[in-house]
Symmetry: C2
Subunit: 524 residues, 2 copies
């Protein structure tokens, strides 16, 4: 088991402090004392990244594609070594880990395709008009270029897909940015294995070693990293407190940098009456399973179920409670998350305006019993404490007496990653006012589906208004995630010979470009 930091693709262990990982199922220490990075190592990683960027920013789409594909291949070649360690550190079952590995490799290869094709740079060309009156127009061309070294924080809830070689790293590499990853302290071994796979890929592709470093540490090391002058952007997936702390740390910098933090969300689901009046068991099972998926540790976990006015409210909640009762409990990611789930859930249920519908007693393991509670729309609207995320398989039914109350609930929720509406098309059309509000509050509005399960594609947006994310303008999932790590560069009246290929008259990359306001793949 490798336990060192990786600085510029080389193992490094200057420090004397250590971290170790715990199996949440057995609560036993796992193999490996992982060396915490020193200030000097972090500085070295950041400076190496800045230097390597001088080369990497001009690395071709083909070469970046090769890097991303090689990382994916290396991850797959780790086989059961990676699967078993990730299972041990996360408590997640084999099927989930293998599925997540598939998604992670799929993401890496999607970004490879994106940069191999090349149109993502959004080349925009306004050609010269020497005869324009009163003054001639000069030739102006613009495209995206990478912004520099990126700090990535591994997430607790996706040891592969949102961690060391997850979407942040894949999109940053795709853009041409070097990456420094701080692994999540709960899956240090997974982080070490994946880090080595990335470093091997960088070396075998002949790219500058400085484009990748990987460190172990906690809040201090993270803070030092994001304050380093060489770092130009941050990718983070985690809690609101964690995201806020990183944002605040960057406020102390002389140069502000973008922090892309994907944080808490209660992902409300608005049910319309047909869902209560039809096959209640099927709806209840769909909801309960979504809430218990990944032990409720998905960012898109539905924490609020808005129950519409209906004569079948009581019977539906009873059926829903039965679906919750039938759920199996599973082990959470670590002790802190488990304890937080228990205390947040207990606090919520202890509220005098909240009633428990399904809530089994806990045992002495870190296994999370799914729980369902209910409150009224009036109480929900009055009391922001009831809007807090309970990270885990918990959901609150918010019972409404009227459509007006449903509207009020929509208006009072905070910024969300997702919001969902379920009903017939005709019902949905009758509730456009609520949809308008949900479009204002959420990054993604879903109809007749559950929010868990985030498609990785061009049209996905995984982000939303604060506090669900630090910036509503960017997505951490899907090809547009690359836009976080680039900025436009504009070249005016440049000789053809020094233009990047994407902006040359003869369009050697054969990409889509906007030329004089029209989309085209033609040469100029």
């Amino acid at each position: 088991m490798k336990t060192k930091n990786i600085i510029a693709c080389k193992e490094s262990a200057q420090g004397t402090n250590h971290l170790y990982a715990v199996d949440p199922n057995s609560r036993a220490k796992l193999e490996g004392n992982f060396v915490i990075a020193t200030d000097e190592e972090i500085d070295q990683a950041a400076e190496s990244a800045l230097q390597a960027w001088q080369t990497f920013k001009n690395t071709s789409g083909a070469e970046k594609g090769k890097l991303l594909r090689t990382i994916a291949d290396n991850l797959e070649n780790l086989g059961d070594t990676l699967v078993h360690r990730a299972m041990a550190e996360s408590g997640l079952p084999e099927g989930r880990i293998k599925g997540e590995r598939g998604r992670t490799c799929g993401q890496l290869r999607l970004f490879a395709s994106l940069v191999e094709e090349g149109s993502w740079v959004r080349a925009t060309i306004d050609t010269a008009q020497p005869d324009r009156n009163p003054i001639p127009r000069v030739d102006i061309r613009k495209m995206y270029q990478s912004i520099g070294p990126v700090a990535v924080f591994g997430a607790s809830n996706f040891p592969l897909a949102f961690s060391t070689a997850g979407g942040d790293t894949a999109s940053a590499f795709a853009s041409g940015c070097p990456v420094i990853v701080k692994g999540h302290p709960s899956h240090l071994g997974t982080h070490a294995l994946v880090s080595q796979a990335i470093a091997d890929a960088v070396i075998s592709c002949g790219l500058p070693n400085g484009i990748f470093s990987s460190i172990n540490g906690g809040a201090n090391e993270g803070s030092m990293l994001v304050k380093h002058t060489a770092i130009k952007a941050v990718g983070f997936t985690g809690s609101l407190a964690g995201g806020n702390a990183i944002m605040k740390a960057t406020y102390e910098r002389d140069e502000p940098i973008p922090v892309y933090a994907e944080m808490g969300s209660i992902n409300p689901i608005f049910l319309l009456p047909s869902k209560l009046d039809g096959d209640q068991n099927s709806v209840a099972d769909q909801l309960a399973n979504s809430i218990n998926m990944g032990v409720g540790q998905f960012c898109t976990n539905p924490g609020i179920l808005v129950i519409p006015p209906s004569k079948n409210q009581d019977s539906f909640l009873e059926v829903l409670g039965q679906s919750f009762d039938a759920l199996k409990s599973h082990t959470m990611l670590n002790e802190g998350i488990y304890n937080n789930y228990e205390s947040s859930k207990s606090k919520m249920i202890a509220n005098q305006n909240v009633r428990s519908i399904s809530c089994k007693s806990t045992d002495n393991t870190w296994s999370a019993q799914p729980a369902l509670a209910k409150t009224t729309a009036q109480e929900f609207v009055k009391n922001p404490d009831l809007h807090h995320e309970v990270f885990g398989p918990f959901s609150m039914a918010v019972v409404c007496d009227s459509v007006e109350e449903m509207k009020a609930v929509a208006q009072h929720i905070e910024g969300q990653l997702t919001a969902t509406m379920m009903g017939t098309s005709e019902e949905i059309e009758r509730h456009t006012e609520i949809i308008e509000t949900l479009r204002e509050k959420a990054g993604r509005v879903i109809f007749n589906g559950v929010p868990t399960g985030v498609e990785v594609g061009h049209a996905m947006h995984h982000g939303g208004p604060y506090p669900s994310a630090s910036s509503s303008k960017y997505t951490s999932v899907g090809t547009d995630a690359i836009l976080r790590f680039v900025r436009p560069i504009c070249l005016q009246n440049a000789p053809q010979s020094i233009l990047p290929d994407a902006l040359k008259d003869h369009n050697p990359l054969k990409i889509w470009r906007m030329v004089d306001g029209a989309q085209t793949k033609e040469v100029i």
Copy 2:
């Protein structure tokens, strides 16, 4: 002369404190005691904007286009009333103000065309694949939507084009965002006239009055505005100190919001030897005139001239000094800017490593004498004080003994709006290492032109790394300025009937869209 604030398109003057404008040429008070907005008025403006947004966010491109065109028409209809007041408040000559009015109206009409055409929303559609294995793909669609009320700060240096109805307001309205403008305290009458023209346009177009408010005030009123919970973004053009103060004020908000501040820049020009070895007079005149354009008060004013190694260095600097000597002095925008120019210039020239080349003594007016100084590359690299912007018609020649020194100068400059290189194509090709550095430091790299004069088009980028702007990712000039005031909204599995037109299968707006990864105007 109207002197009140305009809250939700209606005149309002609850306060008892006033501001007045001064003619910088005569240094006499101009007509009008302008009422400073109260906290209640600012709150009312922000709340009205939030409410009006509920309608305005769904206003069609055709209607928004009509609004923008009506504002432009109203500005033109103000005729000499506007021209004379803007001249009196800014000290700028008639030709400049008329040119700026043309640019302002051109900008408004360009954004009208943009939203009338409609493709700017970047509609992206990933169609459903019900038969995909292992799990079906759902239908996912994404487009840009407006983010909410925007606070705009009028700039000192462009009383029309970067002020009340300038690029920030035009792009915010185009996106569907309500606007609250705080006028610049130096041109209160211009602000009042333009504000009324906007309010009249909003009313005559039948749009909700809350989409526009206009206030008078200083730093306190500005701070109150940007901290208001209803405000979702800020547009600012001005000094580094002003931009930093706004950014810091927003850090105190619970909800972070984007601040788009376009700030200081010294816009270095790198001359290559052919420019010293050929017709020196023509090059010197081109540079001197660019530096004195708008009394050196352009954001893209060249504050640094990098002089390459050449036997003709001394003769070129002598000719350049003569060009400076021949420049006419003009009145600056206000007393504060004039005093700041004089003290910054004196401080720079007093530096023991700086020599004055052309520096006339000042009189008792607010007229800025153009000045040229020189230093060596070695001193420039050592001393960051020499990199400070002197806002006005001042430039520093940085004399280099070698190409290595030129590279070092490029590496040591801070973030810039622009950087320029002048030489033959063959020379430019031999200096790609410097160009690489300039692409890293600046938002726009110009070849064989001067940075003053910013084309308003699709490919323009007016922004750059900090401290030239708060975010290098966005432009304040050109059609992409609209991207500052929007965010993606993603709709999953939505019935056709509730989709915005831009995302409907039959593409009723006939816009460019990305469907399953390819650009097309076709129906689905």
